[in-house]
Symmetry: C2
Subunit: 308 residues, 2 copies
């Protein structure tokens, strides 16, 4: 293989994934060009993941690529948007072919899974950092905000909570899960589920929505404060995976579920008299006042990851 | 001032700049939402600048913010696109209020100067790094690529070349400019000119275009290779600022101009029989064959910055 510089690395590892219905011009020019579907507006979000902060040192390229795209895709899902494309800015300390092959593998899976063709990017030398920008479409004039919840609605989440935080705690040697569950929990950290398939129905039925990145209580707190109401969570209704259920709902499990973050499930509100979308669990309700109450869990003040 | 975390920093320093004709939803939700003008397509680019690599250690927040937005805006100009908005992912080692105030100042100038309202972003803890994603609009079905040059056309550049590289060399203590020129040269590095005002006329008249980030010869080389032709540059026609002109066109000045990069001027091709846009200088022509020839300058092989 020729001596690799950023141009040949981009050609070799990042140029095969640009085809998509919105792609007019993919990687290799000054900008990517996207054609939005008729009568739509653009939803977009950009997130940076840094080694040692957002994923453990020594994580595989495969996992890092997948997680970076999944966590950004989750922002599109939370807005009710349909995926169009993504762009990646990658900073690497060195060119490591084995690592890059691995990265390409994770990239390829995530791009397929989230329908986010890679239309551009940037490769620089520096500490291992990945910034993913995602582009999605929304019907003109419509989107799902954190601020739209009304009093007397129900609060729901997708999937199960706490698995990713439990998986991360295992990666940090903070506990030892049952042998059968290790792979599942670690996978829940590195391979968040796509909830993009729910985006269209949430846009119809939900009044507010957020993705759970910082921990349920912190994120549901954003809905409460931006909607100007209070939210009451019923701890007994939190959905757990079999792996966490078998730990008998102890305070550690609750902490993972309520304050752990990293699940990238969606939390949303909707009128109580409508049909609940499949895979979603009601966990509470909105009410007058402010803040989040969660009886049976005392650790609210520690809710949510803080960078500083 | 309250103890600052990423939420209060975003509120305090980054939330005032979102108003713009395309902005539907600005910072603070899962995604920003942009309304594109009718019958347009989206041009977008994402670039990362890392301290110690793209700007010297200890650069002011003011300069870093301005340069980051300017260099990304330049990608829009090179495509012939009109600016709509930008999003910033910022990684900081610590919360330093004085630095952030400075950063906000540069941000504010650049946002105004490049008409790129800040509609979203992300703040994380890590090595000082800034990723700017820009969004622009292009008439449906049209854009300016590197691959569109035809044989027998003229090659032009905007502004003057080499100033930014000379300014950077001074910042690195590699030479000592005339006292009167120091500020001008350093400013040319940190405050690249906006060429967005040329974008619309280039879209009408130019056949190919690129912004000069890696050095003229490297970047014009992309036009040559992607358009399948050769380009001949006439060294005597390279436009120099008064600050560099007075150095008598020596090989060091040529090296800054031809291989230095960082000017973020535009290089483009157009038919020889059309009117040259104001502020642009013809420096060569396209011909059959491949590669870039540049008589009077021997250093072609060193052309262009390489990250790895």
């Amino acid at each position: 293989m020729e001596s690799l510089n950023e141009f040949s690395v981009v050609r070799e590892f990042f140029s095969d994934f640009s085809r998509g219905k919105a792609t007019v011009i993919g990687p290799g020019d000054d900008c990517a060009v996207l054609r939005l579907p008729q009568d739509t507006q653009l939803a977009t979000s950009s997130d940076t993941l840094i080694e040692g902060c957002h994923f453990p040192l020594g994580s595989s390229g495969d996992d890092i690529a997948y997680r970076a795209i999944a966590t950004s895709a989750s922002d599109l899902a939370a807005m009710g948007a349909q995926p169009l494309a993504c762009v990646i800015s990658l900073s690497l300390p060195e060119i490591d072919i084995a690592w890059l092959k691995n990265f390409k593998h994770g990239l390829s899976s995530a791009i397929r899974c989230f329908s986010l063709p890679l239309v551009g990017g940037d490769l620089t030398k520096g500490p291992l950092t990945i910034t993913v920008t995602v582009y999605g479409s929304l019907p003109a004039g419509r989107c799902l905000l954190r601020s739209g919840a009304k009093q007397g609605e129900i609060v729901l989440v997708t999937g199960t909570l706490g698995d990713a935080a439990a998986g991360l705690a295992f990666l940090k040697n903070e506990w030892e899960p049952n042998c059968d569950d290790k792979e599942f929990l670690v996978r829940r950290f590195f391979r968040p589920e796509s909830r993009l398939d729910l985006a269209a129905s949430l846009l119809e039925i939900a009044t507010s929505s957020i993705d759970i990145s910082d921990g349920l209580l912190a994120d549901v707190g954003h809905i409460a404060s931006e909607s100007g109401l209070s939210i009451q969570i019923d701890v007994k209704k939190i959905p757990f995976s079999p792996a966490l259920s078998k730990l008998n709902n102890n305070q550690q499990v609750l902490k993972w579920a309520l304050s752990g973050g990293d699940d990238y499930e969606l939390c949303f509100t909707m009128p109580a008299n409508k049909n609940i979308p499949p895979g979603c669990t009601p966990i509470g309700f909105t009410a007058p006042g402010a803040g989040v109450r969660c009886e049976g869990y005392d650790n609210i003040s520690s809710g949510g990851y803080r960078h500083f």
